[in-house]
């Protein structure tokens, strides 16, 4: 159906208004409607922002508005070029959302003055799409994962259309390049739709883009190869705007028609992967901006990336050119006497929550409640008189619970993993409840694959992280399971998500969203088989650098503490929960009641393991965080109890790592008094830590007892060997811990020289045995705690 003239008018009026608002945000401190000649004092002292991508983003926004109204779409807009913040803000201002969210930014001249002034201004708003931006779930920091966010938002949102603009700069990143493959994981009935728009404006900051400089047939083949049905459209700088709108409206309609047909076909039962449409939009960078400045071409080149006219405060020519540019949008025709947009400029805005900037999906407004079964039902039985006698694989036990979480939340909980859900032993239980979603060819030999399922696996940590971010940002729940070492692949994405959560806390209209839950297994101490490259516990060091308001770190050491921890994580809101847990058969220490008490406190004394005398200070504290360190500390405690029965040893375990921080630094932090009550202020503390040892110092350096704190942990020593050789290589083994204890308590080394030598000898013997036999010495491998 050809588009009528009135609609073309409305499209162009919106576009001009949005472009004006976009450009003016970057420049104007005052004189927002140009009701008087532009002067130097109207210009911001520092010009910070990106215009290049703005007109393209605005064009798409305008045309989507039309389509939303005509088709009653529930749509989201993801701006991959997050530098186009001015576009997102302009659109939200035009459709009224901005003033609803920020009442001081009124729809009049004064409001517009505030709108412009606050942009990239101290105390104002960031220059990128950000948590402060209505309708955004995607910030323009690190580039690359707009598609992963878009598909994550679409999963389990069958009524939703997610329009994802991918910049051609962003398209050069690895995460973007893999994001396109998300179409092999999207169910055409149960999930929503993603309409990707590759925005080829040809340039990055200082270079052309790769995809803009390959032949048209190659570009087309690339996206056909990704499984899409590309719809190309190209606009040039001088093109008549009505013609632009007419042609672009056709493209949008074409894409949406194809989507509607695909969805209908799928609802009719055809669940093979469809060739979803995607749009390849070529348009000039800095479109409608200055053609040329100081003799250099600007529009359509990289020079339009940020501020096309940078010298306006110093150069009267530039200032005049800016005024001419801004007036080219004819602000007097766009805004009425009071400064409010004229009706035609906002005629395309959808109603209420149909406005993309007001979509409740983007603001935590459609948070799905999670139903978590009683985690105690999955408890591993532990006999208090025979602790450590039973082995269990902690993640496998959690898998049984997660299977039930999946059953009880059939459309709002998913598990994400880079081909590691089974390897991390959440399978098989999880696959009794669900399958891996896979919308590509299936073979008879396949197991646990189906077109619909709650497990999402692709061998890309970036994709898994991005999908789950998109999923939780739109109010649903999930877990990302990964090998501990390789979660470093998404360090930067973690950083960005944590920053988003931190900034979102200050945005009053954003509701809290479900936490992002990591389950890191195949951890450093059990990468004896894969070797040195797979041994890296440093994600913790990255995690604790981010805001204490949003980061939580847990090191449950057996199945029951893992269950209790995960129950808490699944129910929590607004955090990033980093949980490290073992997957190998491992002794179980606490009953479920004890585990709950221990996890509630976050740390505690294992009275059953120590040799303290009531009412007396201990001689020494042996502390542990992590499953393998806990085992070694308990074994060291047993050695000391046998060898030096009179030594008063306290055994402490830390599950919630943030408890080590001060109460002033983290909401979970302990007061100094509480810390001292557990660790003492003056006794040696031998701390066996899961990660790099200095992290414990970094957390506890202000504590009274810090001078007496001696930490053992992973110090970058490892290879392909046995589990016990791994701990020995890093001096975290029971023998070394016991030796450390003897060496730190004054007088002990002399008095118990024979026992100390026995420990040294046992250590050498263990090493020799392993070298000879290729497995751990039985006295270690078969060791059991006995009370």
């Amino acid at each position: 159906m050809p588009i009528d003239d009135a609609t073309l008018d409305a499209l162009d009026t919106w576009w001009r208004a949005a472009n004006y608002l976009g450009a003016a945000q970057i420049y104007l401190l005052d004189n927002p409607l140009l009701r008087r000649p532009l002067t130097r004092d109207d210009i911001k002292p520092r010009l910070l922002g990106h215009f290049g991508t703005v007109p393209g983003l605005n064009l798409i926004y305008a045309h989507l508005n039309r389509a939303i109204r005509e088709r009653d779409l529930d749509a989201l807009y993801i701006a991959g070029p997050g530098h186009g913040g001015p576009a997102m803000v302009a659109s939200a201002y035009l459709d009224g959302t901005y003033t609803e969210k920020y009442p001081e930014v009124t729809r009049d001249e004064e409001g517009m003055r505030r709108l412009f002034r606050q942009f990239s201004f101290p105390g104002g708003i960031p220059s990128h799409a950000a948590p402060e931006t209505p309708g955004s779930i995607h910030e323009g920091g690190e580039l690359g994962y707009s598609l992963s966010h878009a598909f994550g938002a679409a999963f389990d949102n069958p009524g939703l259309t997610v329009v994802c603009v991918v910049g051609d700069g962003e398209a050069e990143t690895g995460p973007a390049a893999i994001g396109w493959h998300s179409n092999k994981f999207l169910h055409p009935v149960n999930d929503g739709t993603v309409l990707p728009i590759l925005h080829l404006n040809g340039w990055k900051i200082a270079n052309p883009t790769v995809l803009a400089r390959i032949p048209e047939d190659e570009l087309r083949a690339l996206f056909e190869g990704y499984g899409y049905d590309p719809i190309p459209v190209e606009f040039t700088a001088g093109e008549d705007h009505r013609e632009v709108h007419r042609r672009f409206a056709e493209v949008i309609d074409d894409a949406l028609d194809r989507i509607a047909a695909i969805r209908e076909n799928a609802r009719g039962g055809d669940l093979t992967r469809p060739r979803w449409p995607m749009i390849i939009l070529r348009s000039p960078k800095g479109w409608t901006g200055p053609r040329e400045v100081d003799g250099d071409p600007i529009e359509g080149t990289w020079r339009a990336h940020q501020v096309p006219l940078a010298g306006v405060r110093d150069s009267p020519e530039h200032l005049a050119q800016l005024e001419q540019w801004l007036r080219s949008y004819r602000p007097d025709d766009l805004f009425d006497e009071s400064g409010a947009p004229i009706p035609l400029a906002t005629a395309l805005a959808p109603e209420g929550n149909r406005r993309m900037s007001a979509s409740p999906h983007t603001s935590g407004g459609v948070r799905h409640p999670i139903v978590v079964p009683d985690f105690r039902d999955y408890a591993v039985e532990v006999d208090e008189s025979r602790r450590g006698a039973t082995d269990a694989e902690a993640t496998r036990v959690l898998g049984v619970m997660l299977a039930d979480v999946i059953r009880r939340n059939p459309t709002s909980f998913r598990l994400f993993g880079p081909d590691e859900v089974a390897s991390n032993r959440l399978a098989p239980p999880v696959y009794k409840a669900t399958a891996k979603q896979w919308v590509a060819e299936m073979l008879l030999v396949d197991r646990d694959l189906a077109t619909a399922g709650r497990v999402m696996e692709m061998l890309s940590e970036h994709q898994c992280q991005g999908w789950l971010e998109g999923y939780v940002l739109t109010g649903r729940h999930g877990v990302f399971t990964s090998y501990e070492a390789f979660v470093h692949i998404v360090d930067s994405m973690f950083n960005q998500h944590a920053k988003w959560l931190e900034a979102a806390r200050a945005v009053p209209w954003r509701e809290p969203i479900p936490s992002f839950n990591y389950l890191l297994s195949s951890h450093v101490w059990r990468q004896d088989h894969n070797g040195f490259t797979h041994q890296d516990p440093g994600f913790l060091d990255v995690a604790v650098n981010k805001s204490a308001q949003v980061v939580r770190v847990y090191l449950p050491f057996d199945a029951n503490t893992l269950l209790s921890t995960y129950d808490h994580c699944l129910r929590s809101l607004g955090y990033v929960n980093v949980v490290i847990a073992g997957k190998q058969p491992h002794p179980q220490w606490l009953t479920m009641d004890e585990a709950i008490r221990h996890c509630t406190r976050g740390l505690g004394i294992f009275e059953w393991a120590g040799t303290e005398v009531s009412g007396e200070a201990p001689d020494l504290v042996l502390a542990a965080a992590g499953d393998v360190p806990t085992l070694e500390v308990l074994a060291a405690a047993a050695l000391l109890r046998e060898g030096i029965p009179e030594l008063k040893v306290r055994v402490v375990n830390v599950v919630d790592l943030m408890r080590l921080l001060s109460e002033h630094e983290h909401p979970h932090g302990l007061s100094d008094a509480d810390y001292d009550a557990i660790f003492t202020s003056d006794r040696p503390v031998i701390f066996a830590f899961h990660g790099y040892p200095w992290l414990v110092h970094r957390l506890a350096y202000k504590r009274h007892g810090h001078p007496f704190l001696h930490v053992r942990g992973y110090k970058e020593k490892g290879t392909t060997t046995t589990p016990f050789d791994m701990v020995m290589l890093n001096d975290l083994d029971r023998y070394q811990l016991a030796i450390d204890a003897i060496d730190r308590v004054p007088g002990l080394a002399e008095k118990h020289a024979t026992f100390r030598q026995r420990l040294v000898d046992d250590r050498i013997r263990a090493r020799m045995y392993t070298r000879e036999h290729g497995e751990d010495i039985p006295e270690v491998a078969d060791w059991r705690w006995s009370t």
Copy 2:
């Protein structure tokens, strides 16, 4: 030319021998030639390794050997599926390299016993391709960047053919997906050739692979879209092996013929991007391994990923099946009486350095010397009587020097950056010496692009990191420049490269390779314009976790210290040098002679800035690391000098961060005596740090003076604002540092309450001014040091 029967025999004999050696490494402790029936005791107690990819890797290796001999190729083999370590080891053993590098692994029965036993065994070799593996520059840790490594190795190696096997699991990662685009950056005459082989064996650990499950035409379109000319070939489980070899030899010849034609054409003057061939090889996972175990299909499924028969120590049936499998390769026909490979099994091995496993490119054997001009020639003039009076952009000054490094090393030095070489202000000087290499469409409007150039820019940190790794791993030199915040994108790749360097130190036949040099600019303190998402100094925290033998961290604070630092980095071998430097106009502090002395020591006292009295201990130490902290510390020192003239302040600056560590922990570490001589052991130290403040505590917690150490740094507070507001938000500003000083020296706060209050008021005034005017208050912005 069809392949003759003798060659087919040789190919199959090599393949069988390599497959036997590959499988046997995983299993056999003894009885290496199966000269007696296999018993339980012959089997390793722990079966660790990956067989799935081995036969495919071996097939390719065998056929490349033939092609190398026939065409006298200089070739490298990059095994993307690094889990195929057994294949790389098997090939090196067959061609004789292994025994040359490890003489104890002789070419007889005893040597073979050692070869098998050491694999994945304590004290032996890792299960992946690793530094210990002859011919490898690519380890099977993190997957994804084999193509980036391959192209990095090919740059400036016109005689080299780099064959890069990309696993279909790896192909799902972002870095791999973007690695294919490297063909837009490869010069067809000056650079070498990369022949990518996508190895579709269909499965990952527990899932099918995406690329194996899309229609053939889509797969073909994808690689045509990437700009290649794909040559598909498929083998099935039962296919006759002679037929396999005949067909695969044709494919290899076809690919190499096309490459030869392209290169000839390019040498004739056609420098447009050619459509390089790539091979799509479909073959069964675990090919030639057990068909079925316990009723489950193995060969051709995910179950063949690691150890196809896992229960051989416990199950006599499995043991029998293993024996049958191993004997299917007919070891008696492959090895002679002594256990040496028969001549036919090694007939295809190329001679000497033509053996891929012996390629000197892979072992540091062709290290290019670097010519570094005298860095003092680029010095910024600093007048000792007017320090800080001149502004300079440190990276722009370095750019002038790097331009000359480029001129003097025209085929062995490159700059890599994700569209940030200009943004980080190495341009324009660098573009007077060279261009950005770009082998795709060029337009008249383009600047500084050419088909040949020393600057490599693609908007992918992964690609830049991987390219430079491949470049330095093959003996050439380079710099990777990135925004500080977004270098986190390659945290994991940094980890893997640092681990490679650490492990390579212990391999006697590996020569040291040039250091990997980071230049991180657009740093946290000058991301006032881009805002919170662009503010992250945490790469340092990741870097210092890796081995002290390979990691160096420098924080030069002006142009002269940057020049001196970079001179050292460029000449160094075997390190990862992390250098953080400013790009904004910034005061210059040290003359070149002073900068050299300061950088040689790595830290030192700025006597000109302090108010110490000779022979007396200072009351206080103000220390800084980083350009902005140094500025604020100097301004704080000036405030204190004016407000409390009698206070004895020492000003210290740290350029080499590792000096803070103990001499026992890092080769650059200071002895306690030296540390105390600079920082004192008992005076308050206010340390203004570039990064997260706790990192300084993590480095210095063992020092005597640690209880008196008070660190200010970035504490995750920021937004889009002004530079001085950024330091105020994080309490790193001059006023706060002076207040800290007053509060830490006993008695000062009472005695100088008025002055202290003035500092508090000035701070508030600065904040208010910024909020109102959008720029920094002149008394801060225009502040100059005066002596």
